[in-house]
Symmetry: C2
Subunit: 208 residues, 2 copies
């Protein structure tokens, strides 16, 4: 994010390139997306690209970091969600929210980071680590709420917040693949419903 506070002649080019990477990689994958296509998608010159990024790999890693910030802004601090005081209700609302996002074309609701890691984990240690950092940040953020719910209600089978948070990530990532294969997000929403069902059974509140 340094470009936005420096004297760069095009303060928004970096952000435009990252947003183009988010869209194009989710639509066509990382390897199939060229620097030229990203520049065209961003409406930015190739010179501007290399002013901000040394390579496609460097942009992709920065885009993973931006994806984490995006999740913080559009998921974790969403007023509809944060105003729910009960941490278990907030967790269930989180799953509902993620399921409600599963609509329209797959590139609009699937995960930039999951798509990037799927194909680049063995080819680029930089991208694997950038993907891990983003997935870990999401899981650790979510685990705070799950741990608060566990403290309040208890949980079956000694499940931990971080373990359940990663499992939530796994279900969503896999649900995206099924939705892509079927060209229909309904199958992904169905897996999200199973996940919610599992969480409800794990907590088994007598108050509910």
């Amino acid at each position: 994010m340094t470009s936005r506070t420096t004297t760069s002649p095009r303060p928004s080019a970096r952000l435009k390139l990252i947003e183009a990477a988010h869209i194009l990689v989710r639509r066509r994958g990382y390897a199939a997306t060229s620097v030229d296509e990203i520049c065209a998608g961003a409406g930015v010159s190739k010179g501007a690209f290399f002013h901000h990024f040394a390579s496609k790999e460097a942009l992709a890693a920065a885009a993973a970091q931006a994806w984490t910030a995006h999740a913080e802004q559009f998921i974790f601090t969403l007023p509809d969600w944060t105003r729910i005081k009960d941490p278990l209700e907030r967790l269930l609302a989180h799953i509902d929210f993620r399921a409600a996002m599963m609509d329209g074309p797959a590139e609009a609701y699937t995960c930039y980071v999951g798509t990037m890691v799927q194909e680049s984990f063995a080819s680029s240690e930089i991208l694997r680590q950038a993907g891990d950092a983003s997935i870990t940040a999401y899981a650790e953020r979510l685990a705070e709420d799950i741990d608060a719910a566990i403290a309040l209600y208890g949980i079956k089978d000694g499940v931990t917040g971080i373990s359940l948070a990663y499992h939530l990530q796994a279900v969503l990532q896999g649900a995206f693949i099924l939705a892509k294969a079927k060209a229909d997000p309904a199958i992904a929403r169905d897996s999200a419903a199973h996940l919610k069902n599992y969480v409800v059974m794990l907590f088994d509140r007598k108050e509910a």
Copy 2:
């Protein structure tokens, strides 16, 4: 599989190319893998490649079909698994088996079809459909057992066999992505354990 019953001068070249595609696509993704690399991996000439396949896309679609046959041979008809008479025990053994497979380098245990569909769903309708066919075949095969378990034990919340079978697929596909990001299959086995936990709770056998 026609090449194995025709008078092809190299009866095993087709199979070698499919096996090379399974390995290379799981390691590096579909777009990043070239026909030259597949030929080198298979130890087959480019001439032989184009004798069997019109394009990389045609090979990839055939490899998805072969992947389904592979699952039938190495998963669904495995003696350790089919000799279990109780369908719910067989389902739980299936999950255990899939978790036990999650070991070593990710390209050895992850899913060719899931990786292929992840990046090609919007670029190739042929590959999206080939991926859907393979995922659907797996889910429908597994749903037979789940439906038998439901008939025997009942299930909570009106869950259907096919819905739970697709959810199992989603969990595995997503677990693979987490394992790739962390360069460690332990996180994938942890999601498989959550899946097993969910199945046990859904059935809630009093006999167990």
